[in-house]
C-alpha cells in the first residue's frame, strides 16, 4: 500500500464505507419501517437477519449442488449454460429465504408482539430484547457458534481495479441491490395500496383503522418486510465476511445510530444515515483508531441526539399531553 497516494486511500475508504454503509442502511430501513408503523424498536432485528442468513446457507450448502447436478441431467436444461443454471437456482434459493424471512417476521409479530396488552415503550423493548436472547440461544443451539463462509456463488468474488483502487464485485452487487431497493421502496410507498395504507397507519393509527385499514395486518406485513430487509443485509454481510452467530451485532448497533442519525421514522433518513455512518466510521477507523469503531457509533448517536434529537431528516415532533 506504500505507493498509494492520499487520494487513492480516500477513494478506497469512501467506496468501502459506502458498501458497508449500504448494509447499515438496509438494517436501519427494517428498523425504521417497524418502528414507524408499530412503535416497536426491534432489538431482535439482527438475530432475525442472522437466522435468515443461516437458512440461506443451509439451503445453498445442502440442496443447491444437488439441484444443479439434477438440472445438468435434464436434456433441455443441459443445453443452457452452467452459469445460467447456477444463477437461476441461486435466485430460487434467495427467493425461498426471503419467503422464510417474511413469514418469520409476520409470525414473530403475531405470536409475541400482538399478544401484549397495550404495553408501554419499555414493555415493547423488553419483549424484543427477550426475543433477541431467545433467538440467540436457539441459533447457537441449532447452527452452532463457529465461523462459516458462504458456499460457492456467494464467496470469492472477483476484484476489479480502478487505477490502484480495488473494488470487489460484491461491493458492486451491494450498490446495485441498494439502488434497486430504494426504487422498489419508493414505488411501493408511493403507488401500491399496501404502501399507502402503511403510510396512513404511521400518520394516525386510529384514523387509519376508522378508514377501514386493517392496522393489525399492516403491522404484520411491516414486520415481514423488515425481516426480509434484515435477511438481505444478513446474507450480504455473511458473503462479505463470515457467517456466524454474532456477525450482525456490530453492524446492528451501527444501524441503530444510522437510524437515529436519520431520525428513526424517516425512510430516506435511514438510507442516508447508513451511508454517512459507514463512510465516517471507515475514515475514523483508518485515521484515528480501529478499535474504537463501535465507540465512534455511540459518540455519533450522542452528538446527534444532543444537537438535533429528532434526527437529520425529520421535523421536530412535539409530544402532546
Amino acid at each position: 500500500m506504500n505507493e498509494w497516494t492520499a487520494i487513492d486511500i480516500i477513494i478506497y475508504l469512501f467506496i468501502q464505507g459506502m458498501a458497508i454503509g449500504s448494509l447499515y442502511a438496509m438494517i436501519a430501513l427494517g428498523l425504521v419501517l417497524i418502528y414507524r408503523t408499530s412503535d416497536v424498536l426491534n432489538f431482535s432485528h439482527d438475530k432475525m437477519g442472522m437466522i435468515s442468513a443461516f437458512v440461506a446457507y443451509l439451503l445453498m450448502s445442502d440442496y443447491m449442488p444437488r439441484i444443479i447436478a439434477w438440472c445438468r441431467e435434464v436434456p433441455v436444461l443441459s443445453s443452457v449454460g452452467d452459469g445460467l443454471i447456477t444463477g437461476l437456482v441461486l435466485a430460487a434459493v434467495l427467493a425461498l429465504t426471503f419467503c422464510f424471512a417474511f413469514f418469520f417476521g409476520v409470525l414473530t409479530e403475531f405470536l409475541f408482539l400482538s399478544r401484549a396488552k397495550n404495553p408501554s415503550h419499555i414493555g415493547y423493548i423488553v419483549i424484543t430484547i427477550g426475543l433477541w436472547l431467545a433467538f440467540d440461544g436457539a441459533a447457537s443451539w441449532i447452527f452452532g457458534t463457529e465461523y462459516l463462509s458462504m458456499p460457492a456463488p456467494l464467496s470469492d468474488f472477483p476484484v476489479y481495479h480502478v487505477g490502484k483502487v480495488p473494488i470487489s464485485q460484491l461491493d458492486l452487487i451491494i450498490f446495485a441491490a441498494t439502488s434497486v431497493l430504494i426504487v422498489v421502496l419508493f414505488v411501493f410507498f408511493q403507488y401500491s395500496a399496501v404502501g399507502i395504507a402503511m403510510r396512513a397507519t404511521f400518520e394516525n393509527r386510529t384514523a387509519a383503522r376508522l378508514m377501514g385499514i386493517r392496522t393489525r395486518r399492516i403491522f404484520s406485513i411491516t414486520w415481514g418486510i423488515g425481516a426480509v430487509l434484515g435477511a438481505m443485509a444478513g446474507i450480504l454481510t455473511a458473503a462479505r465476511s463470515d457467517l456466524s452467530n454474532t456477525m450482525l451485532f456490530a453492524p446492528f448497533v451501527k444501524s441503530f445510530s444510522a437510524a437515529v442519525l436519520g431520525g428513526l421514522t424517516s425512510i430516506p433518513g435511514a438510507i442516508v444515515g447508513g451511508w454517512i455512518m459507514g463512510v465516517c466510521e471507515n475514515f475514523f477507523g483508518w485515521y484515528i483508531s480501529m478499535k474504537l469503531k463501535t465507540t465512534f457509533a455511540f459518540l455519533v448517536i450522542l452528538a446527534v441526539l444532543l444537537v438535533r434529537p429528532s434526527g437529520l431528516l425529520v421535523r421536530h415532533h412535539q409530544k402532546k399531553v
Binding site: L41, S140, V253, L305, P309
Partner: protein, 346 residues
C-alpha cells in the same frame, strides 16, 4: 393504597407484624446459613449466595432507574465495569483500603452516572435505550484499550477482600467455628446488601421516591406541579449507578480475575430480565427476579443456549401475561389470602 392509612403509617417500611416477623426470621436464617456445615460443596452454596446478593444489589439499583423513574437504560453493565475497575485500580495502584475502595468506586460511578444521565434529560423511551446501549459497548471497548492501567482485553487480577488489616483469602477459626474465605466474604456482602436494600426501600417511600414516580408517570404533569424533573432524572441515574458501582466492585474482588468482555450486553440484558420478571418498580420484585435468574443461571451453567432461550421466553411471556411481574403475582396471592380487594396495577 394511599388514603387507607395516614401518612406516617404509609411512610413506615414494615407495615404489619407478620411481615416484620417474617423478615426477622429470614434475617436470622441468613446469618446462620454459612455456619450450618463446613463441606466444600457448602462453600459452593455460599458462593452462589454471594452472587445472589450482588445480583440483588444490581437489580435493586437498576430498578430505581428503570422501574421507578421509567428511564430505560441498556448500558448499566458499563457502570458495573467502571465500579469494578475503579476499586481495583484504587486498591492496587493507590493502595486504598478495601472498604474505602468500594465506597469510592460507588461514588465515582455515581458521578459518572450523573453525567451519563444528562442526555437522558432530553431523550425518552427507545432513544434513551439506544444511547445507553452505545454507552455500555463503548465502556467495554475503552476498558480494553489501556494495557498498563486496565490490563487491556486480557483483563486484570483483582485483590481479595480485606478488612481492618485482615485479608480474607484464608480460613479463620473462631473457637469451634471455621470460616472459609467465601463465608467471610458472605458476611460483608450480606451487610452491604441489607443496608443498600433498606436504603432503597426507604428512599422509595420518601419525597425522592415519589419524585421518581411522578417523573415516570408523566414528566409533563410532574413539571407543572413543581417537581424538578431534570433533578430527579439525573438523581435516579446517579443513585442507580452508585448501586452498580458497589455491586461491580464487590463482584470483582470476589472472583480472582476480570476482563472487559464479561461486562457486555448480556449482563445488561440479564439485569433487564431480573427486574422485569421480578416486577418493575418493586423492591420485592427485584429480589425475586435476582433469586430466580441467579439460580437459573447456576442450574443451566453448562447449557448456555438453553439458559438464553428460557430467560428470553420468560421475559416475553411475563410482559404478555403479567406485566407487573412476580411481585404482582405475589401481591395478588396475598390479597387472595387476606380476602381483600387488591388494587390492580399500582
Amino acid at each position: 393504597m394511599i388514603g387507607e392509612k395516614d401518612y406516617f403509617q404509609e411512610y413506615r417500611l414494615l407495615q404489619d407484624r407478620p411481615s416484620r416477623l417474617l423478615l426477622s426470621v429470614l434475617f436470622i436464617g441468613l446469618i446462620l446459613f454459612p455456619l450450618i456445615s463446613r463441606g466444600d460443596s457448602h462453600n459452593y452454596y455460599v458462593f452462589v449466595a454471594n452472587l445472589l446478593f450482588i445480583n440483588i444489589i444490581t437489580a435493586v439499583g437498576y430498578n430505581i432507574v428503570v422501574g421507578n423513574t421509567g428511564l430505560i437504560s441498556l448500558g448499566h453493565s458499563g457502570f458495573l465495569a467502571i465500579g469494578a475497575y475503579a476499586s481495583i485500580i484504587l486498591m492496587t495502584k493507590i493502595g486504598a483500603p478495601f472498604p474505602i475502595a468500594i465506597l469510592s468506586a460507588g461514588i465515582i460511578t455515581a458521578v459518572l452516572g450523573f453525567i451519563v444521565g444528562l442526555p437522558a434529560l432530553k431523550l425518552e423511551g427507545p432513544y434513551l435505550a439506544i444511547a445507553t446501549l452505545g454507552f455500555g459497548i463503548a465502556v467495554e471497548q475503552v476498558l480494553g484499550l489501556s494495557k498498563s492501567l486496565t490490563g487491556g482485553m486480557d483483563g486484570i487480577d483483582t485483590p481479595p477482600y480485606s478488612m481492618f488489616g485482615h485479608v480474607m483469602n484464608t480460613d479463620v477459626s473462631l473457637g469451634p467455628i471455621v470460616l472459609s474465605s467465601e463465608k467471610q466474604i458472605y458476611y460483608v456482602i450480606l451487610f452491604v446488601t441489607v443496608v443498600l436494600t433498606f436504603a432503597a426501600a426507604r428512599m422509595m417511600k420518601s419525597r425522592v421516591g415519589r419524585g421518581f414516580t411522578a417523573v415516570r408517570d408523566s414528566a409533563v404533569a410532574a413539571r407543572s406541579l413543581g417537581v424538578n424533573v431534570t433533578y430527579f432524572k439525573s438523581l435516579a441515574f446517579a443513585v442507580s449507578a452508585f448501586y452498580m458501582g458497589v455491586a461491580g466492585s464487590l463482584n470483582a474482588h470476589m472472583v480472582n480475575h476480570i476482563n472487559p468482555s464479561q461486562y457486555g450486553l448480556m449482563l445488561s440484558i440479564t439485569m433487564v430480565a431480573m427486574i422485569v420478571v421480578g416486577g418493575l418498580g418493586s423492591i420485592t420484585g427485584s429480589i425475586l427476579g435476582a433469586v430466580l435468574f441467579t439460580l437459573l443461571h447456576q442450574i443451566l451453567a453448562a447449557q448456555d443456549h438453553l439458559n438464553a432461550i428460557i430467560t428470553g421466553l420468560v421475559m416475553v411471556l411475563i410482559i404478555i401475561f403479567e406485566p407487573r411481574g412476580l411481585s404482582g403475582v405475589w401481591r395478588t396471592m396475598r390479597g387472595f389470602f387476606k380476602r381483600k380487594q387488591v388494587v390492580r396495577g399500582d
